[in-house]
């Protein structure tokens, strides 16, 4: 589903964010991406979204090499990938419901479908009361959950979550992780970059660990730290 082929990403001349990363994620897998702050997790996510280009190497999503996708087809790629951004990236001039709805609008879905589905999804992340609030009127955790809701509302084939629980209390975090697992169970490929050790240790999924831009560990049924 996603394949990194010897990918190196430099920012500017000397910041090496990723170095010769080889990684293959199969359809329907659930993968945790762990690593210290600044180890390159977000860079990896941004590469998959074709937000940035690799300096060397090739990235394939659904067997298409990203560098061969013409600019006008990038939206199509992104509609197949739901993404929870580390900094949420909500639209400040749209309410929670409109932000979630926007991800459906861009795929050209019916107005009526949007109107029924958005409240359901917001309910799932525990925000049924916050539908009509603007991002600046939401708490950090609430914004994060709107971002989560937006990422999977259009039922993408791939779901990427960059630190989806950083602003959430442990209880809510468990709820979100269960949600991600449920989504994974219906066939969606899920990639979660996270620092939540308890969660990673509890869920026993495949864990890919980055260190200074290199993949240092890749274990099926892994844990957050090495000693497992």
């Amino acid at each position: 589903m996603i394949r990194f082929d010897n990918v190196t990403k430099l920012y500017g001349r000397d910041t090496v964010a990723l170095e010769r990363v080889n990684l293959e994620i199969n359809p329907g897998e659930f993968v945790f991406l762990v690593g210290a702050s600044g180890s390159g997790k977000s860079t990896l996510v941004r590469l998959i979204l074709k937000e940035i280009e690799p300096s060397r190497g090739a990235i394939y999503v659904k067997d298409t090499r990203l560098s061969s996708i013409p600019r006008r087809h990038i939206p199509r790629l992104r509609r197949d990938i739901g993404c929870v951004f580390q900094d949420f990236k909500l639209l400040p001039n749209k309410t929670a419901a409109e932000n979630v709805g926007y991800a459906m609008e861009v795929t050209g879905q019916k107005r009526r479908a949007i109107r029924t589905k958005v409240p359901q999804i917001l309910d799932l992340v525990g925000l049924s009361e916050m539908m009509d609030k603007y991002p600046r009127e939401l708490s950090g955790g609430e914004q994060q959950r709107v971002s989560v809701a937006r990422a999977f509302v259009s039922q993408p084939r791939i779901l990427i979550a960059d630190e989806p629980t950083g602003n959430l209390d442990p209880e809510t975090s468990v709820g979100i992780m269960n949600l991600l697992e449920r989504i994974n169970r219906i066939g969606t490929t899920v990639l979660v970059a996270t620092h939540d050790r308890d969660m990673v240790d509890a869920m026993r999924k495949r864990v890919v660990a980055l260190e200074n831009g290199r993949v240092v560990r890749d274990m099926v049924k892994g844990a957050y730290a090495d000693e497992v």
């Binding site: 600019r71 990038i74 992104r78 990236k89 909500l90 639209l91 400040p92 001039n93 861009v106």
Partner: protein
Amino acid sequence: MRFNPGFFLKEALKNIRLNLLMSVTAVTTTFVCILVLGTAILVSGHIEGIIGSVRQDVSVEAFFAPDATQERIDEARREVEGYPEVSEVTYISQAQALADFKDTFRDNPEIYQDLGSDVLPASLAIQIEDPSDAEAVAGKLKSAGFSEENLSYPQQTIERLNSVTSYMIWGLRAATALFLISSILLISMTIRLSIFARRQEIEVMKLVGASDGFVRTPFVFEGLLQGLVGATFAALLVVWFNYLFVDWAGTALPFWPISSSAVNAFFVVVVLVAVGAVIGVLGSFLSVTRFLRV
């Protein structure tokens, strides 16, 4: 992708409401620029009108020999009236010429008291539509039997008038073009700035899978609406001013050749509104495009 103008229009209206300061700025900028541009167009229209009517006053006088017969005079008059460059021909008889002369010197009767009624020649006063034709008309008159010394046309004055008025018209058009360019520049910069302030929004839209057109359309609608609103108000104000001015000039400056026909109000409104709308649309389109490369 299905195109849904209702959706995009609603988005645009909502954006205008939410980014009120920016919308107000864009509309006001459009308003001010179009107002200045419209005023420039009107003023130059009126000045060109005045210039045109000043030019119309150019005339050639053709004097008949003292012994010219009435047939000769009638014949010459008919011929001159047939010239396409000529707008009006007035015959001034010897008696009329003397009366005019006396009127001019009415304060100094010593001058004309000894003049016989046939001292001053009869003449044709020939109004010429375009002063640049004066020389051609003079040439025709010469071949029609008038000698050089029997023709009086303000050669030098006409040339000056020609060059001055053409310089003025040229200058007016240059100034109007300057205003037009300034308006376009200022309005589009305001739009660019207001879209620049929202570049992160555009980026987010692209990242969640919106196509370029989907992102752009509400912004373009927004620009169109802002341009239309600002330009319409400005255009109506300009035309209203013009109406008041023509009205006032008719009573306060009766001797000035100002007429409402110098400027086609409807045409001005259409041009101004079109300029506003086109800048609004194009400005938004190009500005958004700058930030779509995500």
